[in-house]
Symmetry: C2
Subunit: 195 residues, 2 copies
DNA sequence: GTGTCAATTGACATGGTGTCAAGTAGAAGG
DNA sequence: CCTTCTACTTGACACCATGTCAATTGACAC
């Protein structure tokens, strides 16, 4: 992507990532990130216009490191619609725990910051495209349960895969990740796939 | 409850409620609320120790005005477990649109404010008790679907009834409220009630 | 009148974001 | 060796929101 990578920029992104990692305080002030990165607070503003943009770039950086796009794409190789939906759910939910800290921060900021809102909505729209593609394959295979329109099925799948839903059951109720994945897969299979 | 109601306090609560009503900016600064209430900013601090507490009291005020507790209790009069769960879902979801603005604000504040977090967790715990009671009646009637433990069924019902889930499908996807209620009822019936 | 209570007024401390200007260290190149 | 460019640092500052404080006003009661 960017041939001219700046080591300072990398340090900052890494520090921001690390500070947002735990579900911890999430407060992560600019000065905290600067200290963690071992640079001055002002150096942050040399690389990112503001706090929001720094966090947005942090998520993009994380996406790149994990290769999310590729992993979500892999689910397209599944043959049947049902298998594809299953794979998509697994791939997405595998990523959620890793991105949760930053995601939550962006969601919170989106409440008062238009840029954060736009960035987050964009990410969720991307994810919804994956849902739509999976549901489209169900339709192609005549597997979509009759009580849902294609659009409605996409909407509910998208909602079940939301970060906040994961947060409620895994973080607040203490469900193990594996059980959670199995639960969502079961939900999707039984509600969306025709018997 | 409080025999000595202060008209100024009421004005402030009403103004806060009104300002948080729309999913709008949600910014609602203390000065905004003061202006809307027609009092000085400092008057707010004469009645509430801080912004968080003001919003917490606003939710309690709203609860009282709507008589939520009573409406949720009514669902207990249903005879079968299934009917009770249905009634509980309907009663709770009828309240969600009304409380959404304040709820979202509190959820956002909970991210950085321990008091807000405690208050919100408390409300959610109360709601979960309602879920637990409904599921307990399913168990009593031998209606709980076999693949869920009583606790897990409570957890998932609680998650499906979450404010953020409502937000995703009603606000972001544009589902009509009636369809949303029907959807959650259908979900609960087909996933939690034994055939 | 005097006291009391609620509210107003205006000033201020605090803490975070974002801006600005001047200074500095180091590499590149004459 | 000296210049120059670039990236970074330093320290100061404006801004804005919360929360605090002290002095003042105005109404009502006794």
């Amino acid at each position: 992507m960017s041939s001219a990578i700046s080591p300072t920029r990398e340090k900052i992104l890494k520090a921001a990532w690390q500070l947002l990692e735990p579900q911890s305080g999430s407060a992560a002030r600019m000065s905290d990130i600067a200290k963690a990165a071992g640079v001055s607070r002002q150096a942050l503003y040399l690389h990112f216009p503001n706090r929001t943009e720094l966090f947005i770039e942090t998520t993009k950086h994380m996406d790149a490191v994990f290769g999310v796009q590729e992993k979500l794409m892999e689910s397209r190789t599944a043959t049947t619609g049902e298998a594809r939906m299953d794979a998509f759910i697994r791939a997405w939910l595998a990523y959620v725990p890793k991105m949760f800290g930053i995601a939550k921060t962006l969601i919170t900021m989106a409440e008062t910051d238009a840029d954060a809102a736009e960035a987050w909505d964009g990410r969720m729209a991307d994810m919804k495209e994956g849902c739509a593609a999976a549901v489209a394959d169900l339709v192609r295979d005549g597997q979509l349960a009759p009580q849902y329109s294609q659009e409605q099925a996409t909407d509910v799948l998208w909602a079940w895969l939301s970060i906040t839903q994961w947060e409620l059951l895994v973080l607040k109720c203490g469900w193990p990740q594996t059980r959670y994945v199995a639960h969502v897969q079961d939900l999707a299979r039984r509600m969306l796939v025709a018997p």
